[in-house]
Amino acid sequence: MLRFLVRRIIGAVVILFLLSIVAFLLFFGVPRDPALLMCGKTCNPDSIANIHHVLGLDKPITEQYWIFLHNLVLGSGQFAQGPCPAPCFGYSYHTDEQVWGTLMDRLPTTVSLTLGAAACFLLVGLGTGLLAAWRRGSLVDKTATAGAMVVSALQIYFLGPLALAVLVYQTHWFDKPAYTPITQNPVSWFGGLVIPWVVLSTIFAAQYTRMARSSMIEQLQEEHVRTARAKGMSRAYVFFRYAWRGSLIPIVTIFGIDLGSLFGGAIITEYTFGLPGLGNLAVQAVNFSDLPLLLGVMLFSASMILLFNIIVDAAYAFIDPRVRLS
C-alpha cells in the first residue's frame, strides 16, 4: 500500500510539473500580452515595457519558469506586495492579491457546491439505476432509462437559467443562489446552494443512473451471480451482496474523476449562479491574462483530479478483494 501511494504521488508530481511547463509555453505562445490590458489610453512601447518590467515578464521565459518553480517550493520574499510563503504562485496581475490566498478563499464555495451536489447525484443516480436494474424491462426501468437519456442531454447553461426563472424569480420558492459560509449561517448556506446543487446534480444523476443500471445488469449476468442464485440464495441477497459490490468498480472510477474535476471548480455552474468559487476564478484568470492566477487555478485543479484518482485506485482494494495494489 505504502509503495503504491509513494509511486502514485511521484507520478502525480511529474504530471503537475509537465503540466506547468505546458501551461507556461501556452501562455507565452498565445499572441496576447497582459500588459496591453493594463496599459491605459496613452499606451506605447515604453509603458508596455514598464509593465513588463514590473510584472517580471521582461526576463527570459526559462528564468521566469525557474522563479515560478523556486517560489512554489520555497516561497519568496521578493514580491513588492509582501512576503509569499510556499506554496507561492505569486501575486495576481489583475488584483494584486496573493494567488494561494485567493485559491484558499474560494475553495470553501467549491467544496460546498461539490459535496452537496455529489451527495444528491449519488443518492438519486445510484438509487434510480439500481431500481431500474432490479425491475429490468418494467415500466419503471423504461421511464428511468428514457428520463436519464433526456436529462443527460441537457446542459447546465440551459437548466440553470430555467431553474432560476421558474423556482426563484416566478414562484419565489427558493432563495436566489448565493454563498454564505456554513460557519456564519448554516441556514443561508443551505438555502443559497439548493438550486445549484439540484441543477448540477440533475445532470450528473442522469449519467449515474445509466451507469449504475448497465453496470448492475452486467454484474447480474456474471457466472458467480448465477452460481449463487443456483445455490438457492435469495434474489435480494445476491443483488445487494454480490452484484452491487462488483458493479461499484466502474462507478467509483468515474465518481473519483468527477469529484476531482468538481473540486477544481464547476466552471459553468459557478458562472451561471454567480458563486465565488474556483470555477469563476478560472474564468477571471483567462479573461485578464492573469498568468500567476491561471497557473494557480490550473495546477490546483489538476492536483485535485490526480489526488482523487489516487484515492479511487486505493479504494478498489477495499471494494474488490481481487484487486491487489502492488
Binding site: T42, S47, V54, G274
Partner: protein
C-alpha cells in the same frame, strides 16, 4: 458538465469581462450582445445629444460650495443592494481607470475637482471644486494652476486633508507600482509623452525625494500649485478623474493601499471581500457642507459580485425580496431581455438609458500602399453599411449611427455632421462607392477585413463585407480571436486593410479623443493610433488646439479637426455611438443616468 474539462467554454465569456476594462484602456467592440431591433429611438436621447454640444462650465467658488441641491422626493435610510459583474480589482484611486470602479469611486473618493450635476436628469454638468474651493484658477493661460483646499475637509479616519496629502497623491503616481491609472497629469508635469515622466521622480515620494517647487508647490497647508511647461487648460477636467482622487499621506501603505484605502467620500468601506462582496456604510467624517456633488441618502450599499448581465437583469425584473431595492452601477439590461423590458411600460418605467462614452470606428490601415489613394478610402467609407452594426448590438437602444468621431457626450459634438450620409442612409451607398473605385481604377481590388470573433463581430462583419463587395471590393474576411484582438490590430505590421475599434473619451473634451487616436507622432506597437494616420496638418492642429485655453473655442476647433479628418483624410469611418439601458428595483428612487459617469448615478439614489 462542471469541471476543468469544460474550460474552453470560458472563452465564450471572455470578451464580456474584458469590456469592463474598456473605459480606461482599449475598448473592445463586443460589449453587449446582439438581439432584437424592436426598440424605438428615444427622442430624449437626441435632445440629450443636442444639449451636449454646449461645453461644460468651469465653476467658481459659489458653484463649488456644498451641500448639493437635494434630489426631489429623496428620503434618508435603508440599504441598497448592488449587483456587479466584476469585483473591484483596485480601490487605490491611482489604479482606478475602468468604468465600474470609477462609478463606485464616486461614493468613496474625492478629488480636487468633480462634476456637479446641474439638472436632475443627469445631462447638465459643470466642473466645480470638490475638495478645492473652486475648479482652479490660472492667470497664464493654463501653465500655472492654483487650488485652495476647503475648510473642514477630512479623511474617513478623521484627519484633516492638507496640501501634504495632495502632494503625496501626485508624487506617488510616479512610483513604479502605479501601473493602471491615467497618466495625463504626470506627463504634463514632466513635460513629456509616454512613460518618460517616471524619470522625474523614479521612486515616487518613498525614498525621501520630492517634486521640486518649480513643478508642484504647496506653500501652505491649504494651497497647491501645479506648474506646467506648456499650457494645459483641461486640468479641471483631468483632476476630476477618479484616478486623481486624494490619498492620505499618513495612511499611504503603497501597494497595500489598493485593498484598504483611507477614503474621503460620503461612504466608507466597512468590508471588502475581493471576488465576493463589498459593504459601504456612511462616513461620519464627511461633511455635506463641503461637498457640492454628493448625497448620503442610503445607510449602506451591499455590493455582490459575479452577477452577469442576464442574472442581474432577471433579478431586478423579478423585483422581489432585497432586489426590490436593488440596482447595478454598471450592468446593463442584457440583449435577450432588452426588447421585452422596453415594450412593457411598467418595466420601462424602472429603466434609465443613455450614452456610453465609446465611439465605434472602422479603421483604414494607412500603412498599406493600396490605401494611399483617397478615392479608395472614400469608396470604403461610402460603401460600408452601418445598419448591420446597429442590429448586431441589439438595435437603436444599444447603438446609434455615428456621424463624426466626436460623440454626443463630448463638447463640440455636431449632430448635423454626417460626412458619408450614414445617418440618413445607414445601409451605405454602394453606387457612389463603385464610381469612386472606378475613377481610381481599382474595381475588384482585394480588401482584407480583420474582424473580432464575438457574436456581434461575426454578425456585422458578414453583412458589412457584403456591402463592400457590392461596391466592387474583393473582401477577404479574417477572423481574429476576441482575446487577442487588440494585440493583433495594434501591431504596426498587421496585415488587415480595415478593422473595427472603439474609443471612449476620458472627459468631455475631444483632447482625450483626437490626439491619442490620430496624432501621427504617436504611431507605435500597442498605441491607439490604429489607422496609423500621419497627417502634418492634423499633427500641427493637435498642438495648436491643445493650447487653447477657452474650452468653448477649443471644442469648436476640435470639431473642425474632426470634420477635416473625415472629409480630407478619411482614415476611419465612424460606425456607432454606444448606448445602454439599465434597470432598478421598484423601491429605488433618484435613479438617473448620468452622462459623465456613463451609467446610473450612485450618488443620487435613495430608498423610496
Amino acid at each position: 458538465m462542471g469541471g476543468i474539462l469544460v474550460m474552453s467554454r470560458g472563452g465564450r465569456h471572455a470578451y464580456g469581462a474584458l469590456c469592463a476594462l474598456a473605459a480606461g484602456a482599449l475598448v473592445l467592440t463586443g460589449c453587449s450582445k446582439g438581439g432584437s431591433d424592436t426598440g424605438t429611438n428615444d427622442k430624449k436621447d437626441q435632445q440629450n445629444a443636442k444639449s451636449q454640444q454646449a461645453p461644460i462650465k468651469f465653476g467658481n467658488a459659489a458653484d463649488s460650495t456644498g451641500p448639493a441641491a437635494p434630489v426631489p422626493g429623496a428620503k434618508s435610510g435603508g440599504a441598497l443592494e448592488v449587483l456587479a459583474r466584476d469585483s473591484y480589482a483596485h480601490l487605490d484611486p491611482a489604479q482606478i481607470y475602468v468604468q465600474d470602479q470609477m462609478a463606485m469611486a464616486q461614493l468613496i473618493h474625492r478629488g480636487l475637482t468633480g462634476y456637479k450635476a446641474t439638472s436632475d436628469d443627469g445631462h447638465q454638468h459643470e466642473v466645480v471644486g470638490d475638495l478645492a474651493t473652486d475648479s482652479g484658477t490660472t492667470t497664464d493661460g493654463g501653465r500655472t494652476w492654483k487650488y485652495t483646499l476647503k475648510d473642514g475637509v477630512k479623511f474617513a479616519d478623521g484627519t484633516p486633508i492638507t496640501s501634504a496629502d495632495v502632494r503625496q497623491s501626485v508624487e506617488r503616481l510616479f512610483a513604479p507600482f502605479i501601473t493602471q491609472g491615467p497618466s495625463y497629469l504626470q506627463q504634463w508635469l514632466a513635460n513629456t509623452s509616454g512613460t518618460g515622466y517616471r524619470k522625474l521622480l523614479p521612486d515616487g515620494p518613498y525614498k525621501g525625494k520630492h517634486l521640486p517647487d518649480s513643478v508642484l508647490s504647496t506653500p501652505d497647508a491649504k494651497t497647491v500649485v501645479f506648474h506646467f511647461a506648456k499650457p494645459h487648460p483641461d486640468l479641471p477636467y483631468t483632476l476630476a478623474m477618479a484616478g486623481y482622487a486624494v490619498v492620505s499621506a499618513k495612511g499611504d501603505t503603497q501597494q497595500k493601499y489598493d485593498k484598504n484605502p483611507v477614503t474621503t467620500g460620503p461612504y466608507k468601506i466597512q468590508s471588502f471581500q475581493s471576488g465576493k462582496s463589498m459593504v459601504l456604510v456612511r462616513n461620519p467624517n464627511w461633511d455635506p457642507r463641503t461637498d457640492p456633488i454628493r448625497h448620503q441618502y442610503v445607510d449602506r450599499f451591499n455590493i455582490t459580485f459575479n452577477q452577469q448581465y442576464e442574472t442581474s437583469t432577471k433579478a431586478l425584473l423579478a423585483d422581489s425580496g432585497p432586489d426590490r431595492t436593488g440596482v447595478s452601477f454598471s450592468n446593463q439590461v442584457d440583449a435577450g431581455n432588452l426588447s421585452r423590458v422596453l415594450a412593457d411600460p411598467k418595466l420601462k418605467s424602472r429603466t434609465v438609458s443613455g450614452y456610453q462614452p465609446y465611439v465605434g470606428q472602422m479603421n483604414i490601415n494607412m500603412s498599406k500602399p493600396e490605401m494611399k489613394d483617397i478615392r479608395v478610402r472614400e469608396a470604403i467609407a461610402y460603401a460600408l453599411p452601418i445598419s448591420p452594426f446597429v442590429r448586431a448590438y441589439g438595435g437603436s437602444d444599444a447603438m446609434e449611427v455615428a456621424g463624426g468621431i466626436i460623440s454626443p457626450t463630448v463638447s463640440g459634438y455636431d449632430p448635423a455632421f454626417d460626412p458619408f450620409g450614414k445617418k440618413k442612409n445607414p445601409g451605405g451607398d454602394p453606387a457612389k462607392a463603385k464610381k469612386l473605385l472606378q475613377e481610381a481604377g481599382k474595381v475588384g481590388m482585394k480588401l482584407t477585413f480583420g474582424y473580432i470573433n464575438t457574436n456581434e463581430g461575426q454578425q456585422y462583419s458578414t453583412a458589412m463585407a457584403a456591402g463592400l463587395s457590392k461596391a466592387g471590393f474583393n473582401v477577404q474576411r479574417q477572423e481574429i480571436p476576441s482575446e487577442t484582438y487588440y494585440d493583433q490590430v495594434s501591431k504596426l505590421n498587421n496585415n488587415y486593410d480595415i478593422f473595427h475599434s472603439a474609443w471612449g473619451a476620458d472627459w468631455p473634451s475631444a483632447l482625450t479623443v483626437i490626439p491619442p487616436s490620430f496624432d501621427g507622432r504617436q504611431i507605435a506597437d500597442g498605441a491607439a493610433n490604429y489607422s496609423q494616420v500621419n497627417d502634418t496638418h492634423v499633427n500641427s492642429e493637435i498642438d495648436r488646439i491643445s493650447a487653447i485655453t477657452d474650452p468653448v473655442k477649443a471644442a469648436a476647433e476640435w470639431e473642425k479637426l474632426d470634420k477635416y479628418l473625415l472629409t480630407k483624410v478619411v482614415n476611419v469611418v465612424p460606425t456607432g455611438y454606444y448606448k445602454q439601458v439599465q434597470i432598478a428595483g421598484s423601491g429605488v428612487g433618484g435613479f438617473v443616468y448620468d452622462d459623465v459617469i456613463g451609467g446610473m448615478d450612485p450618488r443620487r439614489v435613495f430608498i423610496k
